[in-house]
């Protein structure tokens, strides 16, 4: 399969009067179409920086990043604009890019994700899980091929988190989006991804890569994944690789 994202010797530093923060050091990896890749690593190691590089928000100091397709970015905070209705929030992307919106398409999306009733409501009337789904729809409306998720579930309470994980996993699979998921939650990484990259402390490089094969009898969902016998093994492997006490 073709590579959708390719990092070659990518280095990135931030500069300030106090000095240089060397964040990424010789990053090399490729991600293929349709893969779900989770990235875990110590706090402040440069996970968000990595996504910012892929989305083009910032440029690398050295090395090359090849991206063949359109990128959609979803953040930890839903960043919904409170003065816009759900509908107006979802159509923000097309509005900025001056693309006509296909209202039928939006209605089917709203229907599908249980938001039709709330089309003309304001964000403050929605629950945390709904807000996060609206944020996802805002990203999906532009039909990106690559989805960047930066700790998208960390602000949700546990139960909501588990259901929204399942919802979003389904959406990703149905639409066959290549996905990079940044998370602090090892169980989430194993439950959602088919590959987990573990980063080192700053300046970070890739420390370990795990291909996740859970050998499930049924079709995988994040919820069912947790029942797999191999789940715990992966957890321990990744935990060790993260090496918190280093």
């Amino acid at each position: 399969m073709e590579n959708e994202i390719e990092f070659k010797n990518v280095c990135k530093s931030f500069y300030s009067l106090k000095g240089e923060t060397h964040v990424l050091q010789n990053m090399n990896f490729t991600i293929k179409k349709g893969e779900i890749v989770a990235i875990v690593g110590p706090s402040g190691c440069g996970k968000s920086t990595l996504l910012n590089l892929i989305s083009g928000l910032i440029k690398p100091d050295q090395g090359t990043i090849q991206i063949s397709k359109k990128v959609g970015y979803m953040f930890q905070k839903d960043n919904l604009l409170e003065w816009r209705t759900v509908y107006k929030n979802i159509t923000l992307g097309p509005e900025i890019k001056k693309i006509k919106v296909d209202n039928k398409h939006i209605d089917t999306l709203l229907e599908k994700y249980g938001l039709s009733e709330f089309k003309f409501h304001y964000p403050k009337e929605l629950s945390g899980g709904m807000r996060q789904r609206v944020a996802l729809l805002r990203t999906l409306v532009l039909d990106p091929d690559i989805l960047l998720l930066d700790e998208p579930f960390s602000s949700l309470d546990y139960q909501t988190k588990i259901t929204v994980q399942d919802d979003i996993y389904k959406i990703i699979k149905e639409t066959q989006k290549t996905t990079i998921l940044v998370t602090h939650d090892i169980t989430e990484a194993i439950a959602m991804a088919n590959r987990v990259l573990v980063l080192t402390k700053r300046p970070s490089t890739i420390k370990a890569v795990f291909d996740i094969q859970l050998d499930l009898k049924e079709e995988k969902t994040p919820f069912l994944a947790r029942n797999s016998a191999k789940f715990k093994d992966y957890f321990n492997l990744i935990w060790e690789a993260l090496d918190i006490h280093e």
Binding site: S55, Q76, N79, L81, E82, W83, L92, E95, I96, K124
Partner: protein, 268 residues
């Protein structure tokens, strides 16, 4: 609902309590005004307060009635209101426009920052005579004084609001490749509507101060003129009437902005 039933649900109790509280506040406010006026009137009548120095409510009302009858009050109110609105609108919108300009360039902001701080610290009312000499006497000069009082503060505080817009939302818009102008119209301005309204509220007071000071100096019409004239000829009734009318006008303008605010809050 069954009226014979004497028991209220907790929700009903809450609503009743809330309404009762609102009534108490309103009643107290009205009572305060009446007590104040009553005591003033009484003290002036029995001579505890010197009527010549403090005037008294009934005399003020009488004078106001006379001014209304001769239509003279409308001339003064009209001209002052006109000047104040001009000062308010020009001062606020120019200030916001300049703040937007600064928002577009961080470097320019840093260059101009110390100058703005110094300009803001200048004693604008003390400089009013010079401003009027420069701008010309008459309405033009007065409006310029009025603008000078609010302009710099508007630039500084509006820019401050604009510069502190939510970083994460900014990043979200940038991830859609929004232009700087789109960021302005889709995030910076709409997220600051409440802040801009509060700037307008403050500027109402500033614009009035500017107009009154201007009229003190050069005008032969307007509320400010009435107040000064009253003081010069020791007609305290006239001074108090001017202050009273001024208070009402400022309050009405404030009320209009508050209504906008309420409407805006309801919408989101």
């Amino acid at each position: 609902m069954n009226k014979q039933k004497k028991e209220y649900t907790n929700q009903e109790k809450y609503v009743r309590n809330y309404k009762k509280n609102r009534r108490i506040i309103l009643f107290s406010q009205i009572a305060l005004v009446f007590v104040f006026i009553g005591v003033w009137e009484l003290f002036s009548s029995v001579g505890i307060l010197d009527e010549f120095l403090f005037s008294k409510p009934s005399a003020i009302v009488k004078l106001l009635a006379q001014y209304i009858k001769t239509n003279e009050i409308f001339k003064h109110v009209g001209i002052s209101l006109y000047e104040t609105l001009l000062g308010l609108i020009i001062g606020t919108s120019l200030g916001i426009l300049l703040a937007i300009g600064l928002w577009f360039s961080k470097t320019l902001t840093k260059i101009l920052d110390p100058f703005l701080v110094v300009l803001n610290a200048l004693p604008k009312t003390a400089l009013a005579p010079i401003l009027i000499i420069w701008a010309g006497t008459g309405i033009k000069g007065i409006v310029v004084v009025s603008i000078s009082l609010s302009l710099v503060m508007t630039i500084i505080s509006a820019h401050n609001f604009f510069a502190h817009v939510d970083e994460d939302k900014l990043k979200m818009l940038k991830s859609f490749h929004a232009s700087k102008f789109q960021i302005l119209t889709k995030l910076v301005l709409p997220s600051n509507v409440a802040n801009l309204l509060s700037i307008i509220k403050i500027n109402i007071g500033m614009a009035w101060v500017g107009v009154i000071v201007g009229e003190f100096l050069v005008s032969r019409f307007g509320i400010g003129y009435l107040v000064v004239y009253g003081g010069q000829v020791f007609k305290l009734d006239l001074v108090m009437m001017g202050v009273f009318v001024l208070a009402i006008l400022a309050y009405l303008m404030y009320l209009i902005v508050t209504i906008f605010e309420k409407y805006y809050r309801k919408k989101r």
